[in-house]
Symmetry: C2
Subunit: 356 residues, 2 copies
């Protein structure tokens, strides 16, 4: 494979010099784009879209045709792994993802095994290969997975966004069972991400959507160590190119120091943190990705411009910043506000990268 024409995103994650701050947007291929909704309608539903490599490739590329983004991200879902484990992922209309068969009995937990990614998640691996070919080395492709703890929450609760009472009861009363699930998930995520890298993913992001629901001690026992194991188990160089890893715990602002020490290249930040303060706290250990409040994209181009300028100024001079939102883009976002965001980052950021 030949050299990337735009490697700004990769270089920023590795804290190497760049001419400007690269930008991509969590959930950039999604419901705020009319062309996405058309493709999804053709697929039938969200899960069919994920499982069709042709259509997944199509929607992955849609935002890049509209906006000069500096990276593409595989179109998929964080719950493909538990689905491949046999839990039965489905999406009820206007609700989040759910599982038909959440883990209820100890024997079900003991019987859990890590799926072979090529055999059981071939549709994802095929999509990665196909997207890489379609991108033709224009910008890098990000592969991703949910974190072991976040996957476990869905596997135990059967859905997300709750108070995780069942998961936490297990955590405190049967930590052995939860550790077993997490160990299987860690094996599964490591294999899955290495298969994505093998198929062509050029950077990796781990989404720990629910780690922020834990106490300090529980996070450091049940979420972070498993992400550390994954980071240690991933292919970090392929065909001479570094494969950087981004770790994102939503609501994890209290724990940036320990997160920055697990061997990843960058941390994702939600919008609650001041990114300049976060940079001081993590020092030279990692790059930072973030952190505009997605609600700002519901306003207007002038407001988007002003708030984007504020985040760039807070990060300040120097390298190691990848611009992004602090969470996925809302389906109600006017696409022109995304255009304004990308333009603002590309126009304002070179001043912070000038030789000092």
């Amino acid at each position: 494979m030949s050299k990337l024409r735009n490697d700004t995103f990769i270089r920023a994650l590795l804290r190497q010099p760049t001419d400007y701050t690269p930008i991509w947007i969590m959930r950039q291929a999604g419901r705020y784009l009319p062309e996405y909704n058309q493709t999804r309608a053709r697929a039938g539903d969200f899960l069919s879209l994920c499982k069709n490599p042709d259509l997944a490739t199509e929607v992955t590329l849609q935002p890049l045709a509209r906006f000069p983004l500096d990276a593409a991200i595989l179109f998929s879902d964080i719950l493909t792994i538990p689905d491949a484990m046999g839990l039965g992922l489905y999406f009820a209309p206007n609700e989040g993802p759910k599982f038909e068969r959440p883990l209820r009995e100890e024997w079900e937990i003991r019987a859990l095994t890590a799926p072979d990614p090529v055999e059981h998640l071939g549709y994802v691996i095929d999509a990665v290969s196909q997207i890489r070919r379609a991108l033709d080395n224009s910008v890098p492709l990000i592969g991703f997975s949910g974190s072991p703890f976040t996957l476990a929450c869905y596997m135990i609760e059967g859905e997300g966004g709750t108070d995780f009472a069942t998961t936490k009861k297990m955590l405190y009363q049967r930590p052995d069972l939860l550790h077993h699930i997490l160990a299987v998930n860690t094996r599964a995520v490591t294999d899955y991400l290495n298969a994505q890298i093998e198929a062509g993913a050029q950077a990796i992001m781990l989404f720990d959507t629910w780690g922020g629901a834990l106490s300090h001690n529980a996070y450091h026992s049940f979420s972070l160590p498993y992400m550390q194991q994954i980071v240690a188990g991933l292919t970090r160089k392929r065909e001479g190119a570094d494969i950087p890893i981004i770790v994102f715990t939503k609501g994890g602002g209290n724990w940036l120091e320990s997160m920055s020490a697990i061997g990843c290249d960058a941390l994702g930040l939600d919008w609650s943190m001041d990114i300049g303060e976060a940079r001081q706290r993590v020092g030279q250990r990692v790059a930072l990705q973030g952190n505009l409040d997605p609600a700002i994209l519901l306003t207007d181009p002038d407001t988007v411009f002003a708030e984007t300028a504020g985040i760039l100024a807070s990060y300040g001079s120097g390298h190691g910043h990848v611009f992004n939102l602090g969470h996925g883009v809302s389906q109600f976002t006017p696409p022109e506000n995304v255009a304004a965001l990308v333009e603002a980052v590309h126009n304002l950021s070179p001043a912070y990268h000038a030789a000092r």
Copy 2:
């Protein structure tokens, strides 16, 4: 009024020496208690219970009859103020609080005025007087209110727990309108809390339930300064006794330093923080209240004991700690676990208060 027989809670908030760590529990009068559910059934519904001073007194005292708690908290709701402003508070079955007439038009916002607490919220003030008489100086009574920003979220969205898209759009596009609402709320909360103090409340807690949904800059412009104004406007001494003030922003762990500088006596902590680290960050400026994950009360007495011991050990030797949960107690909590928690705090904590 004569002297409190148990002033441990007040002394801890003022960072004065105590023999042990006092404890109370957010939502201690609530649905996990069968006697509460009986009284509520007699009242008809939650709002009727809040508006009946006799029954509000009865349920306020119920947890104190079961457990040797170190404080009582007024049984009420944080949304009494917007209800008194005419927005029409109601509770749909199995849903959170909602308003019939959320703020939609600029003229509605401009017409908003702070209600006179005695005239429009007399049922709360009467409840405070009645509870004080019923407590007969056994333990102190905590009065409370929602923060101006948290009230504004409900007033604008018409409900809680959303992504606050409408509130945030206003914040970024019409900050003048949001500041107007917040200024009126600040006047209303200050008057309301001073009326509670006048009627006998011996400590005050400000609940900023949704401030943690804001970005760093937005929190420091739209939530914290208004809480600072309230703290500055409250009666801080009555009949020779100090009235301490606790400020609690759920999800505000990133901002403890600035929160500790607004003139309050104590900060509430959610369960995501390590309380020992939080203590180092705020130094001698404030006492800390917290911070057991309420999910731990869903387990069993042994687990509750072990986790409680961990928090006491993390806070360590010295005064200025009020034990509490990091959020309200779950309705599914077995009361025997609350008994185990209170016993654990009272039995384990004296070791941390011994003369050094």
